[in-house]
Protein backbone atom coordinates (compact mmCIF):
# COMPACT_ATOMS: atom_id res chain seq x y z
CA UNK A 1 0.00 0.00 0.00
CA UNK A 2 1.06 3.60 -0.53
CA UNK A 3 1.08 5.94 2.44
CA UNK A 4 1.87 9.60 2.96
CA UNK A 5 4.44 10.34 5.67
CA UNK A 6 4.65 13.82 7.15
CA UNK A 7 8.15 15.14 7.79
CA UNK A 8 9.58 17.75 10.15
CA UNK A 9 12.74 19.64 10.94
CA UNK A 10 15.86 18.39 9.11
CA UNK A 11 13.87 15.71 7.29
CA UNK A 12 11.40 18.30 6.05
CA UNK A 13 14.29 20.45 4.87
CA UNK A 14 15.66 17.54 2.82
CA UNK A 15 12.50 15.93 1.45
CA UNK A 16 9.64 18.40 1.84
CA UNK A 17 6.52 18.47 4.03
CA UNK A 18 5.61 14.87 3.22
CA UNK A 19 6.57 11.92 1.03
CA UNK A 20 4.65 9.01 -0.48
CA UNK A 21 6.16 5.57 0.10
CA UNK A 22 5.13 2.03 -0.75
CA UNK A 23 4.96 -0.26 2.31
CA UNK A 24 3.60 -3.77 3.07
CA UNK A 25 0.05 -4.06 4.42
CA UNK A 26 0.08 -3.57 8.22
CA UNK A 27 3.64 -2.29 8.18
CA UNK A 28 5.84 -1.89 11.24
CA UNK A 29 7.40 1.46 12.13
CA UNK A 30 10.78 0.10 11.01
CA UNK A 31 9.39 -0.85 7.61
CA UNK A 32 8.01 2.65 7.10
CA UNK A 33 11.29 4.21 8.21
CA UNK A 34 13.15 1.89 5.85
CA UNK A 35 10.99 2.96 2.93
CA UNK A 36 11.56 6.66 3.63
CA UNK A 37 15.29 6.06 4.12
CA UNK A 38 15.52 4.61 0.62
CA UNK A 39 14.27 7.82 -0.96
CA UNK A 40 17.63 9.54 -0.54
CA UNK A 41 20.92 8.26 0.86
CA UNK A 42 21.62 11.49 2.74
CA UNK A 43 18.54 11.10 4.96
CA UNK A 44 19.11 7.47 6.02
CA UNK A 45 20.92 8.45 9.21
CA UNK A 46 18.27 11.06 10.09
CA UNK A 47 15.47 8.58 9.49
CA UNK A 48 17.12 5.95 11.68
CA UNK A 49 17.01 8.27 14.72
CA UNK A 50 13.41 9.40 14.08
CA UNK A 51 10.32 8.00 15.82
CA UNK A 52 7.10 7.16 14.05
CA UNK A 53 3.81 8.77 15.04
CA UNK A 54 0.38 7.64 13.89
CA UNK A 55 -2.51 10.05 14.37
CA UNK A 56 -0.25 12.22 16.52
CA UNK A 57 0.69 9.48 18.98
CA UNK A 58 4.05 7.78 19.12
CA UNK A 59 3.73 4.30 17.62
CA UNK A 60 4.98 1.07 19.17
CA UNK A 61 7.11 -1.61 17.51
CA UNK A 62 4.31 -3.88 16.33
CA UNK A 63 2.36 -4.04 13.08
CA UNK A 64 0.23 -1.01 12.34
CA UNK A 65 -3.27 -1.24 10.95
CA UNK A 66 -3.24 1.80 8.74
CA UNK A 67 -6.01 3.16 6.58
CA UNK A 68 -5.86 6.02 4.13
CA UNK A 69 -7.31 8.36 6.76
CA UNK A 70 -4.47 7.84 9.24
CA UNK A 71 -1.88 10.56 9.70
CA UNK A 72 1.62 9.09 9.69
CA UNK A 73 4.63 11.20 10.62
CA UNK A 74 8.34 10.82 11.24
CA UNK A 75 9.51 12.67 14.36
CA UNK A 76 13.24 13.46 14.34
CA UNK A 77 14.85 13.73 17.79
CA UNK A 78 13.03 16.62 19.42
CA UNK A 79 14.89 19.63 20.77
CA UNK A 80 12.38 21.97 22.33
CA UNK A 81 12.90 23.80 25.57
Amino acid sequence: MEIQVKLFAMLQEQLGDSVAVEVPAQPTADQIKGAVGQLAPNVRQMVSTARLAVNQEFAGNGQLKLSAADEVALIPPVSGG
Binding site: A53, Q56, P76, G80
Partner: protein, 133 residues
Protein backbone atom coordinates in the same frame (compact mmCIF):
# COMPACT_ATOMS: atom_id res chain seq x y z
CA UNK B 1 -7.36 24.44 34.65
CA UNK B 2 -4.00 24.05 32.94
CA UNK B 3 -2.85 26.52 30.32
CA UNK B 4 -0.75 25.09 27.48
CA UNK B 5 0.29 27.03 24.46
CA UNK B 6 2.71 26.69 21.56
CA UNK B 7 2.82 29.78 19.40
CA UNK B 8 4.95 32.39 17.66
CA UNK B 9 3.82 35.01 20.19
CA UNK B 10 6.49 36.20 22.64
CA UNK B 11 6.33 34.53 26.04
CA UNK B 12 4.91 36.94 28.61
CA UNK B 13 6.48 35.65 31.82
CA UNK B 14 4.58 38.01 34.12
CA UNK B 15 1.19 37.13 32.63
CA UNK B 16 1.91 33.38 32.74
CA UNK B 17 3.08 33.67 36.35
CA UNK B 18 -0.20 35.37 37.28
CA UNK B 19 -2.14 32.34 36.04
CA UNK B 20 -0.42 30.27 38.74
CA UNK B 21 -1.43 32.42 41.69
CA UNK B 22 -4.27 31.10 43.82
CA UNK B 23 -5.10 31.02 47.55
CA UNK B 24 -4.97 27.20 47.28
CA UNK B 25 -1.27 27.17 46.53
CA UNK B 26 1.74 28.13 48.62
CA UNK B 27 4.57 27.36 46.23
CA UNK B 28 5.10 28.33 42.62
CA UNK B 29 8.12 27.02 40.73
CA UNK B 30 8.84 28.20 37.23
CA UNK B 31 11.48 27.27 34.70
CA UNK B 32 12.27 29.62 31.83
CA UNK B 33 14.61 28.58 29.03
CA UNK B 34 16.19 31.49 27.18
CA UNK B 35 18.44 31.67 24.15
CA UNK B 36 22.03 31.47 25.40
CA UNK B 37 24.91 33.04 23.54
CA UNK B 38 27.73 30.58 24.22
CA UNK B 39 27.75 26.77 24.36
CA UNK B 40 31.38 25.96 24.93
CA UNK B 41 33.22 27.39 21.89
CA UNK B 42 30.07 27.79 19.83
CA UNK B 43 28.43 31.20 19.61
CA UNK B 44 24.73 31.25 18.85
CA UNK B 45 23.31 34.11 16.78
CA UNK B 46 19.64 33.15 16.79
CA UNK B 47 17.32 30.13 16.92
CA UNK B 48 14.26 29.14 14.94
CA UNK B 49 11.82 26.75 16.58
CA UNK B 50 9.19 24.70 14.77
CA UNK B 51 6.54 22.31 16.08
CA UNK B 52 4.22 19.56 14.89
CA UNK B 53 0.79 21.02 15.62
CA UNK B 54 -1.37 19.84 17.26
CA UNK B 55 0.60 16.73 18.28
CA UNK B 56 2.88 18.92 20.39
CA UNK B 57 -0.11 20.38 22.25
CA UNK B 58 -1.53 16.90 22.80
CA UNK B 59 1.77 15.70 24.24
CA UNK B 60 1.80 18.67 26.61
CA UNK B 61 -1.67 17.75 27.81
CA UNK B 62 -0.52 14.20 28.47
CA UNK B 63 2.25 15.55 30.63
CA UNK B 64 0.14 18.10 32.48
CA UNK B 65 -3.00 16.07 33.17
CA UNK B 66 -1.59 13.59 35.74
CA UNK B 67 0.02 16.44 37.65
CA UNK B 68 -3.12 18.52 37.69
CA UNK B 69 -5.01 15.41 38.84
CA UNK B 70 -2.91 15.62 42.01
CA UNK B 71 -4.23 19.11 42.72
CA UNK B 72 -1.51 21.27 41.21
CA UNK B 73 -1.78 23.79 38.38
CA UNK B 74 0.40 23.64 35.27
CA UNK B 75 1.19 26.45 32.85
CA UNK B 76 3.42 25.74 29.85
CA UNK B 77 4.19 27.99 26.91
CA UNK B 78 6.65 27.27 24.13
CA UNK B 79 7.53 29.78 21.51
CA UNK B 80 8.05 28.93 17.86
CA UNK B 81 9.50 31.02 15.06
CA UNK B 82 12.52 33.28 15.23
CA UNK B 83 14.18 33.94 18.62
CA UNK B 84 17.08 36.23 19.44
CA UNK B 85 19.53 36.02 22.35
CA UNK B 86 17.83 36.13 25.80
CA UNK B 87 14.38 35.60 24.24
CA UNK B 88 12.28 33.14 26.21
CA UNK B 89 11.84 29.83 24.36
CA UNK B 90 9.87 28.01 27.01
CA UNK B 91 8.03 28.69 30.27
CA UNK B 92 7.06 25.82 32.57
CA UNK B 93 5.26 26.72 35.78
CA UNK B 94 3.75 24.58 38.53
CA UNK B 95 1.75 25.85 41.49
CA UNK B 96 1.23 23.39 44.33
CA UNK B 97 0.30 23.36 47.98
CA UNK B 98 3.86 22.33 48.91
CA UNK B 99 7.09 23.45 47.36
CA UNK B 100 8.79 20.03 47.12
CA UNK B 101 6.04 18.88 44.78
CA UNK B 102 6.24 22.07 42.75
CA UNK B 103 9.99 21.61 42.24
CA UNK B 104 9.69 17.91 41.34
CA UNK B 105 6.86 18.43 38.90
CA UNK B 106 8.34 21.48 37.22
CA UNK B 107 11.61 19.67 36.58
CA UNK B 108 9.81 16.55 35.40
CA UNK B 109 7.77 18.61 32.94
CA UNK B 110 10.72 20.36 31.32
CA UNK B 111 12.78 17.14 31.24
CA UNK B 112 9.94 15.26 29.57
CA UNK B 113 9.03 18.11 27.25
CA UNK B 114 12.60 17.97 25.95
CA UNK B 115 12.23 14.26 25.19
CA UNK B 116 8.67 13.75 24.01
CA UNK B 117 7.15 16.94 22.64
CA UNK B 118 7.65 17.38 18.89
CA UNK B 119 9.34 20.76 18.82
CA UNK B 120 12.65 21.35 17.06
CA UNK B 121 15.25 24.02 17.21
CA UNK B 122 17.41 25.12 14.33
CA UNK B 123 20.32 27.01 15.77
CA UNK B 124 22.16 29.50 13.65
CA UNK B 125 25.62 29.80 15.15
CA UNK B 126 28.44 32.01 13.93
CA UNK B 127 30.17 29.00 12.32
CA UNK B 128 27.30 26.76 11.16
CA UNK B 129 23.59 25.97 11.26
CA UNK B 130 22.72 23.14 13.65
CA UNK B 131 19.55 21.16 14.24
CA UNK B 132 18.85 20.02 17.79
CA UNK B 133 21.06 20.45 20.82
Amino acid sequence: MHYLRISDAPIEVAALYEKLKDPKYGGIVTFVGTVRQWTGEIETKYIDYSAYHPMAEKQLEKLADPIEAQGARVVIAHRTGHLELTDEAVFVGVAAAHRKDAFRWCEYLIDTLKKDVPIWKKETDTDAVRWGD
